[in-house]
């Protein structure tokens, strides 16, 4: 009896509080910059595509809505020949962002992707790639990886020693 009365009191109390519901879309809710909406592909500080087509996002995607194909630049670095995401399947879980080893995939507060034609929900690389570094202004994967690229020789990556001279007799 007592608990029922308390419940009624709790409910009726809300009559006097401010409504949480807003009149979307006339009234836009505040979304934090780190809100996990649709993904973008970012560039590194040098302006190159960050995505190295490692396929980890595609593997981790629970609805299997990412497909991509790796291609190689002349200097041996990897990039996606195509990067396709089917947003009509995407559940915006953000696992692709977590899996991405190069910070290429970042989530944005954009979630309003209504289309009359479902085909328009399929985004290719050209739709996803932005001209910016996103949340990680300094990170460049190839600066850390041991691979030789156009901009750095072997041994010039972060925390790397000069290439070993195998003919040297010195210890």
């Amino acid at each position: 009896m007592l608990s029922e009365l308390r419940t009624m009191w709790e409910v009726l109390k809300h009559t006097f509080t401010k409504a949480e519901t807003v009149q979307y879309p006339e009234e836009m809710p505040y979304l934090a910059p780190r809100y996990r909406g649709r993904i973008v592909l970012t560039r590194d500080p040098d302006g190159e595509e960050r995505c190295v087509a490692c396929n980890l996002c595609a593997a981790v995607c629970p609805v299997d809505c990412i497909a991509l194909q790796k291609d190689t630049r002349e200097d041996g670095t990897w990039y996606p020949e195509f990067f396709r995401i089917n947003f009509s399947r995407c559940i915006m879980c953000g696992m692709c962002e977590e899996a991405c080893p190069t910070y290429a995939i970042q989530l944005t507060p954009d979630f309003e992707m209504c289309e009359y034609d479902r085909q328009n929900m399929v985004y290719e690389k050209e739709h996803l790639l932005i001209n910016g570094v996103g949340k990680y202004p300094d990170y460049n994967f190839y600066r850390v990886s041991g691979m030789k690229t156009a901009s750095k020789d072997k041994g010039e990556a972060l925390n790397e020693a000069r290439p070993i001279d195998t003919k040297s007799l010195l210890p």
Binding site: Q69, E126, I164
Partner: protein, 921 residues
């Protein structure tokens, strides 16, 4: 059976096993790097550490290496002891000190043994803050990509390449943490088995270069159990497909055939499958010689019209499946069917098939070849004609070492000790050939003879074996060698194109008259033997006979066969232009196809299923990796539909693939076992078909969404017990249905051990394939007659030299293979070169009858008198016939090829800027 105790668990072990093998057999996960089941232990990586206790009272124990410790009865071990787990973690931690941060851009990622072992030992953070060692990479040719930074110094590559495969140009350099594995200078790896480095390397130092160009992760590949079509050995392969392309070929373990390794033709020779020159649609020839594409049914109706009530002949193919050949033979009747061999080849194959059935010797599997302790090779360069067999021969000469080891009480896995003990002592191998062969380096004797003399030599050996006097000390020595052996092996084959050589090999085998003697023939194509067995009843025709009848034939069906590779151009022209309507089924543009009136686009081996009979007489089934693209159909399906369209009495009743197999099995007593080759279409494992896709297969809802967001139904496979899906289990099924290997915690190909019944044993699902031929008691009936050819001055015997890269019809269309094949060549001895005043790389005009070829000069160190070799199967040497005489002349217009281009690490790179973004946030 000895018992050991591991963490309180009693484990039964095999005598002579080591603890690592015992643990893996018991299903325990003990990490390892340098040990390999076929290469034994050297204890170099220190990864398989565990604690051994003296007795029950001993609580401290001591750390030992699992791979170097024999499993003796009553021994006590612990895998889980804290010092053992700490030790293993510390080993990985130190290996990772210098391992670069580039898994995302490493082709090994996702199937990396180092990744698996790192996770298994629980190592996570790199505590050491010092700098990482780096190394310069080398250009190792078009097949292998080198990234030395990733090396963990396990020595597997060197042990495989030098010790196992007999390569000379890859090895360890420098010392301590400067260790480097590469060539003495950049250049193309010489070994024909270099591709196995990709699978042997536990990390990403050596990766598959063609695969890297169109890379997909292992978990994204759709794979199927398949059989290599590169030669007649019948190695089991697992091609991987994604986005409609066959991206790579991996070895598929078959205990009796290829084991862990395949050759480079098998691994890298499937690039032609993705070529633009593949046929997509059926076509009917326009009057101007071009083809216009027609629908499948229209092609069938046209063909049926041409065939109705007319005289129809057909030509089969040694590179098409048994089922397709069978259907074609039934469709037109045995008399009107020619197997599609060249006339020379037809005779050779006929006698090989005959000898194999009547010889008292065993026709050995590749595994059995490894047990041989005395080998006589008659006229064959095995490395180029049956590469995987040559790799097995390299192992069989080590039997001497294992024999010595047994005397010393050394277990066979003590690799370094056994090599040290044996040094250069090998089991004897005598090679009798016209030219250098790639096995000369392990042979105890090499004899250079012309083909006729090789045959005479063989017969002399046979005579010596039955006690006759031969006056030929070399033959006597060979006979003595074979007589002393427990498992003598004679290897010969069709590549000399010489009947006498084949007969003499059979004579030697039968003269040995031991139940353990082995006789192995190398035959030219993946289904040569199967086709020879099919026409063994003698009811079928020959190519030459068909040419004679050309005017009387109304329609001619050619199955997957470029006839211009088989016979004289003039003869084939006569056959194809003889007024008959020519219907061709093939997958690739070729000369025969151009001369046809109707072409039907055939599916490749990666898109169809069928049975092939290997040179061992083993029938094996291959399955499609993908469903046929465009309007292609498997040849057997084209022919089955054609039979329906022509209302063929017998074949119209056949509804599916399994019924073809049953009908084919009934057609000849040789084929009765065909029904046991693979499970029926109705086979289900726990209610499901076997999945071709891994459980991690990604992108299903996005792969096709670029075309349409509406997802199509998954491709259906109505003909096999495999599905184009990730649903179902890939576990414990019959071995012939294993599309890929993966086990929890074991993402790399090392997960194979979870599929094997025991370490290095057959798969849990039994052995794959069925042997159709067994040895007989009668002995082969062979003639010992040899017709000697007399030579005029300036004339030579022309000896075919098959090449791993270049001689095979289809793989030669692969970019990397054609690069390695180089130009067509003529191989001469030093003396001839001096006489003609030519050096290596010059050009020679080779004249034979009315054929003239311009070929590059190669100078060999060992050539039989009056013999010259030519690159068989090369387009430049088209028309040359082995055995006939040729004359040589210096080609004055010859252009030498330029120096080899090497894309070295030092090359200046042009930075490439990515695409501009078009949609900003």
């Amino acid at each position: 059976m000895p018992m050991i105790n591991v963490d309180g668990q009693e484990i039964e072990v095999k005598k002579g096993e080591n603890i690592l093998e015992a643990c893996l057999n018991a299903g325990l996960d003990l990490p390892y790097f340098c040990w390999h089941p076929s290469m034994g232990s050297i204890g170099s990586c220190r990864q398989c550490a565990l604690v051994q206790y003296q007795n029950e009272e001993d609580t401290r124990g001591r750390i030992v290496m699992g791979c170097m410790t024999p499993a003796s009865d009553g021994a006590r071990f612990s895998l889980k002891a804290e010092n053992a787990t700490q030790f293993r973690e510390a080993v990985v931690e130190s290996l990772m000190l210098n391992h670069p941060h580039d898994c995302p851009v490493c082709a090994e990622g996702g199937e990396c043994h180092l990744q698996d072992m790192t996770v298994m030992v629980g190592h996570r953070d790199r505590r050491y803050t010092g700098k990482k060692n780096t190394y310069r990479n080398q250009y190792l040719g078009p097949l292998i990509h080198h990234e030395m930074n990733r090396c963990i110094a396990c020595y597997r590559c060197e042990r495989y390449y030098r010790d196992y495969a007999g390569g000379k140009d890859l090895g360890a350099q420098a010392s301590h943490d400067h260790l480097y594995f590469g060539r003495h200078e950049e250049g193309i790896l010489e070994s024909e088995f270099s591709g196995n480095l990709v699978e042997v390397c536990p990390t990403g130092v050596f990766t598959d270069k063609p695969f890297l160009k169109q890379y997909s992760r292992k978990w994204d590949l759709q794979s199927a159990p398949s059989i290599c079509q590169g030669c007649a050995v019948g190695c089991n392969i697992a091609p991987g497909e994604r986005y409609g392309k066959v991206k790579r070929v991996h070895n598929r373990y078959n205990h009796d055939v290829n084991g862990y390794f395949i050759c480079d033709r098998g691994r890298f020779g499937s690039g032609y499958l993705n070529s633009d020159l593949r046929l997509d649609y059926a076509g009917i020839k326009n009057p101007d010689g071009s083809f216009f594409a027609v629908h499948q049914q229209q092609a069938l109706n046209t063909a049926a019209d041409w065939m109705a009530g007319k005289k129809v002949a057909a030509i089969g193919s040694p590179r098409a499946s048994l089922e397709a050949n069978y259907l074609l033979r039934e469709l037109v009747g045995s008399k009107n069917f020619a197997p599609g061999f060249s006339d020379q080849e037809a005779d050779l194959m006929d006698s090989i098939a005959n000898i194999l059935q009547t010889s008292m010797s065993i026709n050995p599997s590749v595994k059995q070849i490894e047990t041989a302790d005395a080998i006589l090779i008659l006229g064959e360069d095995v490395t180029n004609t049956a590469p995987r067999v040559a790799l097995a021969l390299r192992q069989s000469v080590r039997n001497k070492a294992f024999e010595l080891a047994e005397q010393m009480g050394l277990p066979p896995w003590q690799d370094a000790a056994i090599r040290n003990l044996a040094q250069d002592q090998r089991s004897p191998m005598t090679i009798v050939s016209a030219m250098n062969t790639r096995l000369d380096d392990v042979a105890s004797a090499c004899v250079s003879l012309a083909p006729d003399d090789i045959a005479a030599f063989g017969h002399a050996v046979a005579a010596a074996l039955v006690g006759e006097i031969t006056n030929n000390p070399q033959a006597d020595a060979a006979a003595q060698m074979l007589k002393m052996a427990k498992n003598p092996l004679i290897v010969s084959g069709s590549s000399m194109a010489h009947q006498g050589v084949i007969n003499s090999a059979a004579a030697v085998a039968d003269a040995l008259s031991q139940t353990t003697s082995m006789l192995s023939f190398c035959v030219p194509e993946c289904n040569s033997l199967g086709l020879a067995m099919m026409v063994a009843d003698g009811a079928s025709s020959h190519l030459k006979a068909l040419v004679k009848r050309a005017a009387k034939i109304d329609a001619l069906i050619v199955l997957e066969n470029d006839l211009y590779r088989r016979g004289d151009k003039a003869l084939i022209d006569q056959l194809l232009a003889g007024g008959a309507k020519v219907i061709t089924l093939d997958m690739y543009e070729n000369g025969t196809l151009d001369q046809s009136d109707l072409v039907m686009a055939a599916a490749s081996y990666a898109e169809s299923q069928g049975t092939l009979v290997s040179s061992e007489g083993r029938a094996q089934r291959f399955y499609p990796v993908q469903s046929p693209a465009s309007e292609r159909l498997p040849s057997w399906e084209w022919l089955l539909r054609l039979a329906k369209a022509t209302e063929h009495k017998k074949l119209s009743k056949i509804e599916n693939f399994d019924q073809i197999v049953t009908a084919c099995a009934k057609s000849s007593p040789l084929f009765t076992k065909l029904v046991d080759v693979a499970p029926l279409n109705s086979f289900r494992d726990r209610g499901s078909k076997i999945p071709r896709q891994t459980h991690r297969y990604s992108g299903r809802t996005a792969m096709n969404s670029g075309v349409s967001v509406h997802e199509p139904q998954q491709a259906q496979d109505h003909e096999s017990p495999l599905s184009f899906s990730m649903e179902g289990l890939n576990r414990d099924q019959p071995a012939s249905l294993t599309p890929f290997v993966w086990a929890p915690g074991w993402n790399s190909n090392q997960s194979l051990q979870k599929f094997q019944s025991e370490v290095d044993g057959p798969l849990k699902g039994g052995s794959s394939g069925v042997r159709l031929i067994s040895s007989s008691q009668t002995g082969a009936d062979i003639s010992s007659q040899i017709t000697q050819i007399s030579l005029k001055p300036h004339q030579w015997h022309l000896v075919p030299m098959e090449q791993v890269h270049g001689s095979d019809e289809l793989s030669a269309h692969t970019e990397e293979i054609s690069e390695l094949a180089g130009r067509g060549f003529i191989a001469i001895g030093k003396k001839v070169a001096e006489k003609l005043a030519v050096t290596e790389g010059d050009g020679l005009l080779v004249k034979q009858d009315d054929i003239e070829c311009s070929l590059e000069v190669r100078i060999l160190s060992r050539v039989a008198k009056n013999c010259i070799g030519y690159s068989a199967g090369y387009a430049e040497a088209r028309g040359l016939v082995a055995g006939r005489l040729v004359s040589l002349q210096v080609d004055k217009t010859w252009q030498r090829s330029g120096p080899e281009m090497i894309a070295s690490d030092k090359a200046a790179f042009q930075p490439v800027v990515g695409d501009g973004g078009t949609r900003n946030v």
